[in-house]
Subunit: 268 residues, 2 copies
């Protein structure tokens, strides 16, 4: 676990109201952050190649947010230029009937990244304590046990070599309004507008309570949550990249040694 | 099917010996091709977004080559910057025991891209008429029927909305020697060197015969083969991108229309 202003410190009570949505850290504006973003991009490219070459660890990146919170944008920007061969994105939609006929972790375990790979989960097993809680899809008697199941599941992955990084992209309700209005205004963005999002928006406070409890109960040393101020897209991208790069550097990955006798090989 | 200098024209006898490995088309050198490569990159980004938004078609890209032929490099360069959320790479290795207990197309069908997605297959179902033929893993009585099975399989995908583009990255035996020697010389590339590749190299002529027959029998209007001169990496990248972009343009994809009543929506 690496330190960050945005870490939900394990073992410390988490208060979502204390988290700013418009923080930009040490940067004044997008332009001043650009060189740092570029530097992180090239580091991430290099780390991903080492991860793939070494084939020892995997990286699981969990992205959660309210609608229009920037999950899709973050994937496009943070992983822009990463070798697609080493990077796999799974977007979890409404579960299929096959998926629903299993326990809530089944489809997420199936999508866990192989060694050598970065697996990005756009929405995740946390929906089981977010939308399922807010909409009473699962009763309290069921979802209240899920935090512990989630912690145990993540511990299995972590102890077998997966670096787990969880990001809550935190926007304000006013920023969401602006983004939804922008989708309405731009014909090329109309396809992204889902009238269902408005119903979810009405449940904003319920979602904040659900996020608060989920982050409080599942931010652990082996699978920490980072609560990213996401009103400014460029800062969101920088902050996510920063955590990923510094966390992957800690893995201290090496290119595998040459097979024996390599120096004697002559190619005819 | 779009036209290209590198198309293995369906219905016309294919001769691998007539295909150059060091052609660079209308370009003098890498520098002169750079603006065209950049232009294709931005077109591909836009086409991929439309593909995803429309959710009607999928794109299956098959990459085959001799070892060091540039499959990995092509993926990294051609799809550099494409949104990883819309792009999924499957690398087919030695089949697992589960995979071997099914017919030869099973694992490839499982990995076929969903609507809206570009699926890149690094090696593919063609290994069943390449390595399995050359090494007698499958007897002639089995593999000789596979061309027809492959054509039927690809027709299913194509008729249900998949654009199929198959690329043979064609390098000379001398170029392969240089690339394998470069891997031996650079410690950071040692992990890519597999001594087994030398055994395959000895079977070069058998592989060329197997590629020739595979391309001859399975280059169809619904799933054409493009034989890409791949000695020059930059030309290979341009030529692949050119075929993908022009083929995807033909799909004439549109952003989906807005849901009804969008103009009346007010966000509170």
């Amino acid at each position: 676990m690496i330190d960050s202003d945005h870490l939900a410190t394990p073992g410390k009570r988490f208060h979502i109201k204390k988290c700013k949505t418009d923080d930009t850290g040490r940067f004044k504006d997008k332009e001043s952050a650009q060189p740092a973003i570029e530097k992180l991009r090239s580091k991430l490219w290099d780390l991903q190649e080492r991860l793939y070459a070494e084939g020892k660890h995997s990286v699981l990146i969990v992205l959660q947010a309210m609608d229009a919170g920037g999950k899709d944008g973050a994937i496009d920007h943070v992983f822009h230029g990463v070798n697609p061969q080493g990077c796999s994105v799974t977007s979890f939609k409404v579960p299929s009937s096959l998926e629903r006929s299993h326990d809530f972790l089944w489809r997420h375990h199936l999508a866990a990244p192989q060694r050598g790979m970065i697996g990005i989960h756009n929405r995740s097993h946390y929906e089981a304590v977010l939308i399922e809680r807010v909409h009473n899809i699962a009763p309290r008697s069921v979802w209240k046990h899920r935090y512990e199941h989630i912690n145990n599941f993540e511990r299995i992955l972590a102890e077998e070599g997966t670096l787990i990084l969880k990001f809550f992209l935190h926007i304000s309700k006013a920023e969401q309004k602006e983004r939804l209005e922008a989708r309405l205004a731009d014909p090329q963005e109309h396809w992204k507008f889902n009238p269902g999002d408005l119903k979810e928006r009405e449940l904003w406070d319920d979602y904040m309570a659900a996020f608060e409890e989920a982050i409080d109960k599942t931010s652990t040393r082996h699978a920490p949550w980072y609560v990213i101020p996401a009103d400014r897209k460029w800062y969101r991208n920088w902050a996510i990249s920063d955590v990923i790069v510094r966390s992957m550097q800690r893995l201290n990955m090496k290119y595998p040694p040459a097979v024996e006798g390599l120096e004697k090989i002559v190619i005819k």
